[in-house]
């Protein structure tokens, strides 16, 4: 009768082979990282772009197909409500456009033009794809994008370009965990906004300072400058500080278009 049993010798090498293999692979990867970083990144992005395009196309088709299975009456009610909300929003928008134009004309008269240029960009990957909380956009060095350029959605600044390649760039979001930015809350109160991920921030202020829900948080820059809106305020009786929780007024994981602000 044949017996089949594990060999008892070479127990030490049984554990060391994975470690040795890992070290060899990491050394080879490190070689490419340090000596040919752009070559690897450019090649990977060239391969990734068609896959991302197909994915966006499929997601678009699925999103349009899904409503066929939902309740038609609910759809009709939602449609009417959205039309009504849209009419109000368009009225507010035309008033805002009037004030914006007036503001720009006044700045020009006083010689205070900010000289910024906005370049529209498409988001290739959303922040929830990795813990780095980064956006990959379809503009790069060939489009004049540089490290440090700001990324905005409308009037809200959401991040900064950190790495650029020929035709792609990576932007890190200001709301990424650990990111700290100087902001102005409500009536000119300066504070450090600490990112918490997913478009959320927290700032610490003395309890005596009055802050309200929905107060606007701004960056200390000419344009754009909106940073977020106050969502909640946490304070305790014993602590002398209050924690202001604020966030961007839109879903970070659904943005498809951004603008790069050239300095």
């Amino acid at each position: 009768m044949k017996m089949n049993y594990r060999l008892q010798n070479n127990k030490a090498s049984f554990l060391s082979k994975p470690i040795v293999t890992s070290i060899v692979i990491l050394v080879i990867a490190g070689f490419f990282y340090f000596f040919m970083p752009n070559f690897i990144s450019e090649t990977v992005y060239k391969f990734a772009r068609p896959i991302w395009n197909v994915k966006e196309y499929v997601m678009y088709k699925v999103t349009n197909f899904w409503p066929l299975f939902t309740d038609k009456e609910k759809l009709i009610a939602d449609n009417l409500k959205l039309k009504s909300d849209l009419e109000y929003a368009q009225t507010d928008l035309s008033i805002l456009e009037y004030y914006r134009k007036e503001n720009e004309d006044l700045k020009k008269t006083l010689g205070r033009t900010d000289g910024t240029k906005r370049i529209p960009a498409t988001v290739l990957t959303k922040p929830n794809f990795s813990v780095y909380d980064t956006l990959v956009i379809d503009l790069g060095e060939n489009n004049g994008i540089k490290k440090g350029d700001l990324v905005a959605v409308g009037d809200f600044v959401i991040g900064e370009i950190r790495e650029t390649y020929s035709n792609y760039s990576k932007a890190v979001l200001f709301s990424s965990p650990g990111e700290i930015n100087r902001v102005i809350i409500a009536d000119g109160i300066s504070a450090d906004a600490i990112g918490r991920g997913g478009g959320n921030f927290v700032a610490k202020l003395p309890k005596e300072i009055s802050v309200n829900i929905d107060d606007l948080v701004q960056m200390n820059s000419p344009s754009p400058k909106a940073f977020g809106k106050v969502e909640s305020i946490e304070l305790t009786e014993t602590s002398s500080f209050q924690f202001i929780l604020f966030k961007l007024p839109f879903n970070m994981y659904q943005i498809n278009k951004v603008e790069v602000i050239k300095n």
Binding site: R6, F14, L15, K17, P18, I19, T21, S22, I25, L26, A29, Y33, F34, P37, I40, S41, V44, Y45, A48, I51, W52, K55, T125, N128, F129, S130, V131, Y132, T134, V136, R162, E163, K170, V172, G178
Partner: protein, 86 residues
Amino acid sequence: MSKKRAVADILILLSVFIFPWWVTFIVATICLFIFKNFYEIFVFGILIDILYGIPIRRLPIPVFYTLLATIEYIVVAPLYLKLKFN
């Protein structure tokens, strides 16, 4: 390389681009238990770092997922052999 492993590699490679990172790593971890010496997990970790990573604090290159793949491989590879023999 068996056909099953090749198909698994292609599917996990596509998931790096299509799905969030945790989907890729869950499937890759399962493959560590199924296939012997599943070195491909290093490739997937490095790819995610290249695609989405930025230098963090004092580290000059993004290494989070590369390190995660390394730790998973070192921990799971010996377990694979033990499970197969037992």
